[in-house]
């Protein structure tokens, strides 16, 4: 029943800023994969890092074994960025010519940018940089879509939907729904399902690779 992975272990980095629901996104995605019969290892840190800092979850997906909770440098297969410059930060550490990247375009400005000491790169620069370094790059307005759904935090689920839409992992709406129904209050299920569908559709609509 289990589908083979395109690579074993398949290395996913989910990145963002504390408070964006990074941990929840990695949990949901990993649970879907565990239910599909894979061995999954998630590496993450929380604590001080959630106070406005960059956060990263490393997910290792394997048919057979437990892998290090830290992905080696340059070895990411898929980067899911809830925040645009975090996509670039993770690329700098874990990028390689075959990496796929999905980016939420809504910036969260670091303190240095708020204070004017540093400059936030333009949306064009971010797009061009990611596109130049990734085998496949997708850009979503996930936060804006989530605000339309009534809660910006759902941006993380839209991104998970987008990952499903990419077709690189054996996950789909059905397994997502099972995970969500088991793990969330019933009242929140519908919003999550809609968010997932938006993400999935927004990636499926475009013909890869972009640009």
């Amino acid at each position: 029943m289990r589908v083979n992975l395109v690579k074993d272990p398949y290395n996913i980095v989910i990145t963002g800023v504390g408070g964006q629901g990074n941990v929840m996104a990695s949990r949901v995605l990993s649970n879907m994969l565990v239910r599909k019969g894979f061995k999954v290892t998630i590496g993450e840190t929380f604590g001080m890092s959630q106070r406005g800092g960059s956060v990263m979850s490393h997910i290792r997906v394997s048919s057979a074994s437990v892998w290090s909770p830290q992905i080696p440098k340059g070895a990411a297969d898929l980067i899911v960025a809830l925040e645009p410059i975090e996509a670039i930060r993770v690329l700098a550490g874990y990028g390689n010519p075959s990496v796929k990247v999905v980016v939420n375009l809504r910036p969260i400005y670091p303190v240095g940018v708020i204070t004017g000491e540093e400059e936030y790169p333009s949306a064009e620069t971010i797009r061009a940089t990611v596109t130049a370094l990734a085998a496949e790059a997708r850009f979503l307005a996930a936060t804006e879509e989530a605000i339309r759904l009534g809660n910006p935090i759902l941006g993380n689920i839209i991104m998970i939907g987008a990952v499903a839409g990419l077709g690189v992992l054996p996950i789909d709406r059905e397994i997502f729904e099972r995970v969500i129904r088991d793990g969330m209050p019933a009242a929140r299920v519908e919003g999550n399902l809609r968010a997932f569908a938006i993400g999935e559709a927004s990636v499926a609509l475009k013909s890869p690779p972009s640009q």
Partner: protein
């Protein structure tokens, strides 16, 4: 957090390391669990508290780690299985009791789970609890994956009962906060009556008083227990070798470093040349097992975090057995193959193994690598800061203004909690907090500074302390300061919970770890009982806070100020905006003389933005928590707040 918390037996689920440890304790039939919150350990007690059941499993957040260990010990003395949980420096706090407990021995299985933080990812230190195992002469075991985290914890209770002493399970951040597949086991029926048998003679470990005296006799007994543990360790399935029969290099490792070592060997395609001896029982080391594996080869690399603990002990055994196993070349911390500070990762281990075996680790194409290197040049860094709406930002703003007005070079002695960020990132605390050490130390240090007036010190001294920290360790220091007539201002930053670690309950709240109603122990009343007047202010009232502080700073002796305002992430506030904020463009002075971007340049709440094109401040509605404080600092009255509609 776990989506599969309530899974059935035999199910394979995704668990965080800490959840796996908690599950292991549940499968061992633990009856009492106590701890003090501390990253990366907190989720263990949190998970257990969700499983707690009146009369079956008792779980508490104790006031500090020493008390937690004492509470758990009592259950063991009464014949129940018990668990105490803490982060690395918590073991230091508990160590005085631990020294005596290891002498007195235990009855019901008792396990100490210590979660270390190599690399200080969420700590102000990277101290190691492993050394306590040797110091206290108790067994130490370290899980290397999530399944093992559960199995080992369960087994630790059996081991404790076999040797009648406490057993230490050591985890690290990359194990506790990582997650992986775990096959669940059976949950036992929780039975067994609590009874403390104490009618026997002092010499009877089963029915006598529990005490570490007579010391020599008990110490001798303790060492016998340890020898018994060694015998068990020799046969333990938690120690395993994988690799060729005669490897070129033997890697000896434990804990998360096992995963790094495996990945390193795999990345170097060195499976035929390097073997890995993964140790689960790391103190005392089983000598026969080590001898068997050390014989395999001449080169030995020890991979561990942080200091050479395993390395030193392996070397001692190798020296003792040199006649039989031959002379070895050791690689590890002492020769510089691996760093003695910070955490390890697969790359660091691969580099070390690669250097020893002469293999280059895989590299990305040079041209692509060059592009990656250039990326960081234009990336703004992301400094940690207080959350939007955080009362600490307001408190430090008030402290800054008061200290600047006071003009005598006053400073804050910081302490452990989110407010420690003021010391770690000076801009976050507006350059006020200048020391940071252990929990409660800010108060003790301030007590000391407060006696230096006769030696010419004229700077006013402040100590800050969170509400949970107050109960944990600040009270003795505060009593000292009062009794010694130290000149200091003691500020409790009371945000209504143990915010930094995830909002665990503490004695100031009306609910305990199990969600039951609990009596509140009031901080102001405690302070008042010490005989010092207490002032309570809301840090969001900038002028009131500042004026009170300026008044207190000029008074001699100990002055107590409680700054009370709930954490922005507290359950009652999270996701709810009290105010809808906006900036009136016509009033915002922007960069002009008369403001110069006070709100974004100095105050730096992440909910505020500086629009470079329009040269006006803005509110980021997604980030802003709606606390309203920034409206009060704007010199032009341009930041407007409007009461949000109640949901």
């Amino acid at each position: 957090m776990a989506l599969d918390r309530e899974q059935k037996e035999e199910a394979e689920v995704l668990l965080m390391g800490n959840e796996a440890i908690a599950r292991g304790a549940l499968e061992a039939g633990v009856r009492v669990a106590a701890g003090y919150p501390g990253t990366p350990s907190s989720e263990i007690i949190e998970t257990l508290s969700r499983s707690s059941e009146t009369g079956k499993l008792y779980v508490e957040w104790s006031t500090n780690e020493k008390v937690a260990m004492e509470v758990a010990a009592a259950a063991s003395f009464a014949g129940l299985r018990s668990l105490c949980v803490m982060k690395q420096n918590g073991v230091n706090v508990a160590s005085d009791f631990l020294l005596h407990l290891t002498g007195s021995g235990t009855r019901g299985g008792m396990v100490l789970v210590a979660c270390d933080d190599p690399g200080a990812l969420s700590s102000a230190n990277e101290g190691e609890s492993r050394h306590f195992a040797r110091l206290m002469e108790i067994p130490l075991i370290e899980p290397a994956d999530f399944q093992e985290a559960k199995e080992m914890t369960r087994w630790a209770f059996d081991l404790s009962e076999q040797i009648r002493n406490i057993v230490m399970v050591r985890s690290v951040t990359r194990m506790s906060h990582a997650s992986g597949n775990v096959v669940l086991g059976t949950l036992p029926a929780l039975e067994g009556k609590a009874e403390f048998l104490c009618d026997g003679p002092l010499s009877d470990p089963e029915r006598g008083p529990v005490v570490s005296a007579p010391v020599m006799a008990k110490h001798r007994l303790q060492q016998e227990k340890l020898r018994k543990a060694i015998a068990l360790f020799e046969k333990s399935p938690f120690n395993a070798y994988s690799g060729p029969e005669k490897p070129e290099l033997l890697i000896i490792t434990s804990s998360a470093c096992t995963l790094y070592s495996r990945e390193a060997v795999s990345r170097l395609h060195a499976e035929e040349r390097a073997g890995i001896l993964k140790l689960g029982t790391t103190w005392p080391l089983p000598p026969m097992l080590l001898k068997r594996h050390l014989r395999k080869t001449q080169k030995v690399l020890i991979v561990e975090e942080v200091l050479p603990f395993l390395e030193d002990h392996v070397k001692i055994l190798a020296a003792e057995q040199a006649r039989e196993i031959g002379i070895k070349t050791f690689y590890g911390k002492n020769d510089g193959a691996l760093p003695t500070v910070g955490e390890l990762n697969p790359d660091l281990v691969a580099d070390a193994v690669g250097r020893i075996l002469g293999i280059d680790p895989p590299a990305i194409p040079a041209e692509y690598g060059e592009k990656l290197r250039r990326l960081t040049e234009f990336l703004p860094k992301r400094d940690q800061t207080f959350c939007p709406g955080c009362p600490h930002r307001a408190s430090y703003w008030g402290i800054r203004e008061a200290l600047q007005r006071d003009h005598r070079g006053g400073f804050v002695c910081g302490d452990i909690g989110c407010y420690a960020m003021a010391t770690l990132s000076q801009a976050a605390g507006f350059h006020t907090a200048k020391t940071l050490h252990a929990m409660g130390s800010g108060t003790g240090i301030a007590s000391g500074f407060g006696k230096l007036g006769p030696f010419g010190m004229t700077q006013p001294v402040l100590a800050v302390c969170g509400d949970s920290t107050f109960y944990h360790a600040a009270i003795p220091a505060l009593i000292n300061a009062i009794h010694q007539r130290a000149d200091m201002t003691f500020i409790v930053l009371d945000n209504g919970g143990t915010a930094m670690t995830g909002f665990q309950s503490h004695p100031g709240l009306d609910v305990n770890a199990m969600g039951e109603a609990a009596p509140m122990v009031d901080i102001a009343a405690i302070c008042g009982a010490m005989g010092v007047p207490v002032t309570i202010e809301d840090p969001f009232d900038l002028i009131g806070t500042r004026e009170t502080l300026n008044r207190l700073l000029e008074e001699p002796g100990v002055k107590i100020l409680i700054l009370k305002q709930s954490c922005a992430l507290s359950p009652e506030k999270k996701g709810k905006k009290r105010f809808l904020m906006r900036v009136d463009d016509t009033l915002c002075r922007g960069e002009a003389c008369g403001c110069n971007r006070l709100c974004t340049r100095i105050f730096r709440c992440p909910g505020l933005l500086w629009n470079r094109e329009r040269k006006r401040a803005e509110i980021d509605e997604v980030i802003c928590a709606g606390c309203g404080f920034c409206a009060g600092i704007c010199p032009a009255g341009a930041i407007r707040s409007e009461e949000a509609a109640k949901p």
